[in-house]
């Protein structure tokens, strides 16, 4: 597709359930980034991938969060045993490469609500 695609756009889940959020980057973009944004607040950096590799996982809020990227394309962010504080918009972005002079393009986000 032409842009970064995230699915689902909205997800309501019960506390304690696991959820998977998907990000499909722009074709040819080797860098992929995940962020979390609480209502009207700043961007909390979660993790980035260069290809399939995630050099720094320290931004993930807890061990309930994990992310993977396969084939240098689609990435999934998994939250296990969801808690109410996980409710937020999860944003994905992609760019031609980490540390390059090109901008990142953002998806529309997945709004996660834990009830």
């Amino acid at each position: 597709g032409a842009g970064v695609s995230q699915s689902p756009s909205n997800k309501v889940t019960e506390k304690g359930k696991d959820v998977e959020l998907r990000c499909d980057p722009i074709s040819g973009h080797t860098a992929l980034y995940w962020y979390r944004q609480s209502l009207g607040q700043g961007l909390e950096f979660l993790i980035y991938f260069q290809g399939n590799s995630a050099p720094d996982k320290s931004g993930l809020p807890s061990d309930r969060f994990s992310a993977e990227r396969t084939g240098g394309s689609v990435s999934t962010l998994t939250i296990q045993r969801t808690q109410q504080e996980d409710s937020a918009v999860y944003l994905c972005a992609s760019s031609l490469g980490v540390g390059l002079d090109t901008e990142a393009f953002f998806g529309q986000g997945t709004r996660l609500t834990v009830v």
């Binding site: 944003l91 002079d101 901008e103």
Partner: protein, 109 residues
Amino acid sequence: AQSVAQPEDQVNVAEGNPLTVKCTYSVSGNPYLFWYVQYPNRGLQFLLKYITGDNLVKGSYGFEAEFNKSQTSFHLKKPSALVSDSALYFCALSNDMRFGAGTRLTVKP
């Protein structure tokens, strides 16, 4: 550590007045710096970037930014603010696309 900082959570200006949204950075070597905007209920959009060369960079919607190496700053500016400029603004460093905390700009009629 390489990072960016936005020292102001909120900036208020009157329509027609000039606006400045501040960003400072800390990086070894030459930085690639970016500004993004998030309008209410919309995704983040790229505004402009500094790579090298002219310290004054022009971008979308009449915005510009001034790169100042001695002050390690990359402030976003616009000569005459519009009410429609009201949004959340983020600066970012390209090494791994970590963003500043964001500045909420409110332009009042």
